[in-house]
């Protein structure tokens, strides 16, 4: 018995455990999602997170121990962000056609999603740190965590808000566009990319390649524009 439990203690503390758990849960969640005919409520990221949190709590494994393995996956967000330059390059032709509406929508969309969350949270009595961590929630995770850290938020909390926002966008996006009769693929894609980053982009690619292309373009541009304007707006409103 003691032998078995030492093996378990060793395994649950080794990086292998967190890494394998993440991949197994993700593959399982993608499978469930496909079986459910792509029902947005069965979002694979939300499902995987739920499964992993339940398993870790059941076996009393700390997030710290889990992350010692999962960090290898987390680390890839950096090179993946750099790699966004490639789809962006292939869409530059489209960018030339829509750069005026796109850049204005980008600036308004980024500021609005970030600061409406900030003020709604303030109105409902959230703490200062929660509010600050919310501002970059629509930006892709590695960038959002960087912005949060530089603005006095908690990067880990921001990462959670980023993922929740992405899941919300992926789930309600289609519905919002239907209710408000928004049909143009370029408009829908840009809205998804600006508001719901990578998860919104992944969802857009499922709806149509054209919409996905615009979402990817908007997400990549939003990552750079957000890093520039969100800290500026924040220091402006803090100084009034």
């Amino acid at each position: 018995m003691t032998n078995q439990s030492t093996i378990w203690v060793y395994l649950s503390a080794s990086p292998l455990f967190g890494l394998a758990l993440t991949l197994i849960c993700y593959l399982l969640a993608v499978n469930i999602y496909n079986k459910g005919h792509g029902n947005p409520l069965l979002n694979p990221v939300a499902l995987s997170i739920l499964m992993i949190v339940i398993i870790l709590s059941l076996f009393e494994i700390s997030y710290h121990a889990y992350f010692s393995g999962a960090q290898f996956i987390h680390f890839l967000l950096g090179p993946a962000t750099v790699a966004l330059a490639i789809p962006l390059y292939f869409q530059l032709g489209k960018l030339k056609k829509v750069w005026i509406p796109l850049s204005i929508a980008l600036v308004l969309g980024i500021s609005f999603s970030g600061f409406s969350a900030y003020y709604i949270a303030q109105f409902l009595g959230a703490s200062e740190q929660t509010m600050l961590s919310m501002i970059p929630k629509s930006v892709t995770a590695p960038v959002a965590m960087g912005i949060s850290e530089k603005n006095g938020g908690l990067p880990a909390l921001t990462a959670v808000f980023v993922v929740i926002t992405g899941v919300i966008g992926a789930v309600v996006g289609g519905w919002v566009f239907k209710v408000f009769r928004i049909k143009d693929d370029s408009v829908k894609g840009v809205a998804m990319g600006v508001t719901a980053h990578g998860l919104g982009t992944a969802r857009s690619f499922q709806i149509s390649p054209q919409m996905g292309a615009f979402a990817g373009l908007a997400m990549a541009l939003s990552a750079s524009v957000s890093a520039l304007i969100l800290p500026l707006i924040l220091s402006f409103i803090q100084n009034i």
Binding site: S48, V82, P87, S113, L124, V143, V160, G198
Partner: protein, 121 residues
């Protein structure tokens, strides 16, 4: 291009991005600078892009997997989330819907303003 070369290229661009951010004390995260530098290199050296396209597809098609470790961090913040759950969930839900609408409506308003019937698909 072999996968190892591609991942090395991506990491080198990220590293250069981080170095620029650190030495100039910029408010932008390193990987974003890396992305902009890579984009610039692709524009200058066009065949580069087609060579990189296939191998990076693998990384980008599983972009959502990469968000999971950060998302599991929710368990560290359970107390805060319990205390502020209403404010957090309303703020995230409403601001996401508002963000979608503001972005979409701005695009449409300017399309109309510039008198573009529709962007050809």
């Amino acid at each position: 291009m072999p996968f190892l070369t591609v991942i090395t290229i991506l990491l080198v661009y990220q590293l250069v991005g981080e170095l620029i951010v650190l030495s100039l004390d910029l408010p932008i995260p390193g990987p974003v600078i890396g992305m902009l530098l890579l984009l610039l290199s692709l524009i200058i050296k066009k065949p580069f892009a087609t060579q990189l396209e296939k191998p990076t597809e693998l990384l980008l098609s599983h972009l959502s997997l990469l968000f999971i470790p950060a998302g599991v961090g929710i368990m560290v913040h359970l107390v805060r989330l319990q205390q502020e759950w209403l404010a957090i969930s309303v703020a995230l839900l409403v601001s996401t819907i508002l963000g979608l609408l503001v972005t979409a409506w701005t695009m449409m308003a300017i399309y109309r303003l510039l008198n573009w019937k529709k962007v050809e698909s």
